[in-house]
Symmetry: C2
Subunit: 275 residues, 2 copies
């Protein structure tokens, strides 16, 4: 363990690891703003986010046979963060299901940066992704992964989107939720009005968009707006702003929202000379 | 019901709906080549595939309160395909979990078209997607959805890929597995050699690809090859064929394989003038 002390957990009801108990049942509730990071990739991202001051790790829980393999990641955390270790049968009883990964951490956001703070912090040249009503955790996670890959400066989710810090969204994002700044508050119409005030060209993505994404003119500040897969964006948003579509074979169901976001961000980032 | 007869199922052990029992446990085994189509979108695709002669529907099982809502889809199936109907408690006991969707069908492929048949059937101008070692059902399903959206003529999976007819893959594909021709057989190296023999320009997708996907020259016949997310494509494939990368912010984990496939297919299909 290269000098890192660990604390053995012998029983599932040990109060020190209470936050990891009944993991699935409690994914959506009751950790008072705290979240569960799962797997080595997300643990490494949490270490980076902790060092950057954006998020804080509170404790780590590992399957005993994983300790050696993640020693280099543990070394990235300050020494006062407790590392609890349990055998397989104990960790399964804690989580409430078979935890073959066996790498868990409890984290929390360091501040509660609101929409206005996020907007004020944007650079002169900026690419913003706005999500409206995205309720599927896989899709939200994938959207953050794409935002990171194509250099979006911030992700702004309206208040009807699901929480990107939910365990599965965080895992699907491969930890990008911890590296790409985001907010999740306000109505979509207010978010878009704030962006328009700040000089953003606003493009909503829709299968019936009036222009092809390849025709979106380059601009210093661009916001891409995506909605839910079934319903799409509400008519009042589609009519208030410019809309763009992804060319595809006619007559088919539209693309998955995460894939569509990836393609549109790729195209816009290329147009802005970012990739 | 507009004249369509249904058959009431009163108990979960009724032998007529045996194939739908313990749905999750049996997803990967034991239906002798048959598959489960789930949800109204996939049911509609199955009706189309049945009419086209590619797949055959054997029976349909519906939650009683869904019958009226899917009457227009049922009308697309020949009248001799039995439609079984059960109340919520019965259907939950059949499936082994809470089936809030309540729309299920049992289907099977009509033929067993092999790789050579698929290749011989390709038009002069063709776009082919090849998957190597794709073991995640969500990713395989999304790849088919993208293949359909960007007009790929066929999807060729090597023998180490998972089955795209698995219930969840089929659902994620929104039924595209039933509309885009595919084969799943043979080693990747043999598939690629067959494509090369038939005049395909073969491009493997890799974060370390030697050219940008935007630089792939247009050609009459192009095959895009994608590998697993963790490992990527094996070195012998990467060294034997041309490789291309998707431009992205440096230093990050690569894109999800389904999203990467979507972006690359989009770019190649555009280059071929298909979209």
């Amino acid at each position: 363990m290269d000098g890192r002390e660990t604390i053995a957990i012998e029983t599932a009801d040990d109060p020190r690891i209470a936050e990891f108990r009944a993991l699935r049942d409690r994914d959506l509730t009751g950790r008072e703003g705290r979240f569960i990071a799962e797997g080595t990739v997300v643990l490494r991202m949490l270490a980076g986010a902790h060092a950057a001051g954006a998020f804080m790790a509170e404790k780590i829980l590992l399957l005993k046979n994983r300790v050696q393999g993640v020693a280099d990641i543990l070394a990235l955390f300050p020494p006062d963060i407790p590392v609890y270790v349990a055998e397989s049968d104990v960790i399964d009883r804690i989580a409430g299901f078979h935890m073959h990964r066996g790498v868990l951490a409890l984290g929390r956001p360091m501040g509660c940066e609101g929409l206005a703070d996020r907007l004020d912090a944007l650079p002169e040249t900026a690419l913003v992704l706005v999500g409206c009503g995205i309720s599927n955790h896989d899709n939200v996670g994938s959207m953050f992964r794409n935002a990171a890959a194509f250099g979006a400066d911030v992700v702004l989710l309206d208040e009807t989107c699901c929480d990107p810090l939910y365990r599965k969204a965080l895992r699907v994002s491969v930890g990008s939720v911890l590296s790409v700044p985001f907010s999740r508050q306000g109505a979509a119409s207010d978010i878009l009005a704030s962006l328009a005030d700040r000089g953003f060209a606003i493009w909503s993505l829709s299968p019936r968009g009036s222009c092809d994404i390849r025709e979106i003119p380059s601009a210093r500040r661009i916001a891409l707006v995506v909605g839910t897969e079934g319903e799409g964006l509400p008519p009042e948003i589609l009519s208030a702003f410019q809309s763009a579509r992804i060319a595809q074979v006619p007559g088919l169901d539209s693309l998955n929202v995460a894939t569509a976001t990836g393609i549109a961000l790729y195209q816009i980032a290329a147009g802005m000379g970012r990739i």
